[in-house]
Amino acid sequence: MRALYTAATGMAAQELNVQVISNNIANMRTTGYKKQRAAFQDLIYDHVRRIGAQASDQGTILPVGIDIGGGVKTVGTPRLMGQGTLSPTGNDLDIAVRGEGMFKIQMPDGTFAYTRDGSFTTDQQGRIVNAQGNLLQPTITIPQNSSGITINTQGQVSVTLPGSTTPSILGQISLTRFMNKAGLQPIGDNLFTETPASGPPQDGIATLDGYGDIQQRNLEQANVEVVSEISDLIAAQRAYEMNAKIISAADQMLQSTANMFR
């Protein structure tokens, strides 16, 4: 009985849907997190009676056919890269991007990763690093005893050095864009890496060409909307239950067949 397997694909899809939703809810307070969504498609159909087939030698054709579907498949879990709300933190090295750009981080193995999480600190040498201690690109070193770190909307970092009254510029934080941000590979720690689907990274400067502007003393919150996640969760749970009901209905039918003749 095909219905058993069809309903099983439905249960598997809803299980994955609940996983995606629960990951979104778990990360609702993760800085720079972008929510995911499970995308489903119907499986192939068995065309038992093909529509438009010849019905007689008089040239009449079947106006409708018999198409039996085989269930559902998950086609992907695309990430929705919409802007998260900015929340002020008051911390000098908390920066958020309002726009398309991402921060570029150098990983310990020399490769680059990209993030929307702008909660940076300095390491023992005064270099700006992310929470894992990886360097923000280009590397900017904040001298000891300097004060008044200012990062403007273009990403220029300036400080006031001891014995000076005017701020001096230390460097400029660059931003990176991708043609298809949803195609980036998440590697955990709020980081993403380039893939063939994302397109090559395009480095640029904040405020230009749609890279967005940089907001100091702000962090970008996750773009998860709890209300819609919870309603999606309820829908997924009910859909799972209904698929389970189909399985038990098919089971009952098979059982009654098995008990038909004593």
């Binding site: 559902v72 086609v75 864009r177 689907a197 039918m253 009654s256």
Partner: protein, 255 residues
């Protein structure tokens, strides 16, 4: 004598297939742009030997067989997603998708951008505009899709002037029942079914059309199928018991 068994079997086979259709609908209850299927049945009169000359004529035996499945093409509910690349179509139109096998049609408006900047479906096939695939440029941002499907963006540092990137091609069919489901949320048109440009349909950006499967109706249909199947089984069982006792009684040779 054996007709009742075979008639019961014809009903059971058609009920099984109806449950398959219900199962596919329920499995796709969260599939964007999915259109539910429904089964149609018809009577099949057996053309066997029968004698019509008696006063009480022989009744012809009729079986049941499934005639067709048809698409319920009603509008599914739309959900607001705030995602600029999600479009729901208000009306009868379909989006046109370019696949390796030719043009296909879909109601699933969860669009993506691929690495070349083309607007694609979740399956990665380009969505056709009025003049071919729609391509966004590297510096484009703030994509706006208007009600008639025109796609405009802000380009580069510009924050005021819209640049047009194309217009979604919307088509509808005189007889949409002739569309064939291809899987992957795609419909294909049978030979002789030509798409016509649809100007009445409206595109809603930031919304997605959900599956139009009616959960309550599918669940009650499932119970109906299940009960009908059990009833046929019980009927066949009674017939079997009848035959069994007939054999026992009639063949009971007194010793």
């Amino acid at each position: 004598m054996e007709n009742n068994l075979l008639i019961g079997l014809s009903r059971q086979v058609s009920l099984e297939r109806q449950l398959d259709v219900v199962a596919n609908n329920v499995a796709n209850i969260n599939t964007n742009g999915f259109k539910a299927d429904q089964s149609l049945f018809e009577e099949y009169l057996m053309s066997g030997a029968h004698q019509d000359n008696f006063i009480g004529r022989d009744r012809r035996v009729s079986f049941v067989q499934d005639r067709a499945t048809f698409h319920d093409l009603s509008q599914g509910p739309t959900q607001e997603t705030h995602n600029p690349l999600d479009v729901a179509i208000d009306g009868n139109a379909f989006l046109v998708v370019q696949t390796p096998g030719g043009e296909r049609y879909t109601r699933d408006g969860s669009l993506q951008v691929n690495s070349a900047g083309q607007l694609v479906t979740a399956g990665g096939y380009p969505v056709m505009g009025a003049n071919g695939p729609i391509t966004l440029q590297q510096t484009d941002h703030d994509v706006t899709i208007s009600a008639d499907g025109t796609i405009t963006v802000l380009e580069g540092a510009d924050t005021r002037i819209d640049s047009v990137r194309g217009k979604l091609r919307l088509v509808s069919f005189a007889d949409p029942q002739k569309l064939v489901k291809d899987g992957s949320n795609l419909f294909s048109a049978a030979a002789g079914v030509a798409p016509q440009a649809d100007t009445a349909a409206r595109v809603k950006q930031g919304f997605i059309e959900k599956s139009n499967v009616n959960a309550v109706a599918e669940m009650s249909r499932m119970i109906e199928v299940n009960r009908a199947y059990t009833q046929v089984t019980a009927m066949l069982q009674q017939q079997s018991d009848l035959r069994k006792s007939a054999i026992e009684k009639l063949a009971d040779v007194p010793a």
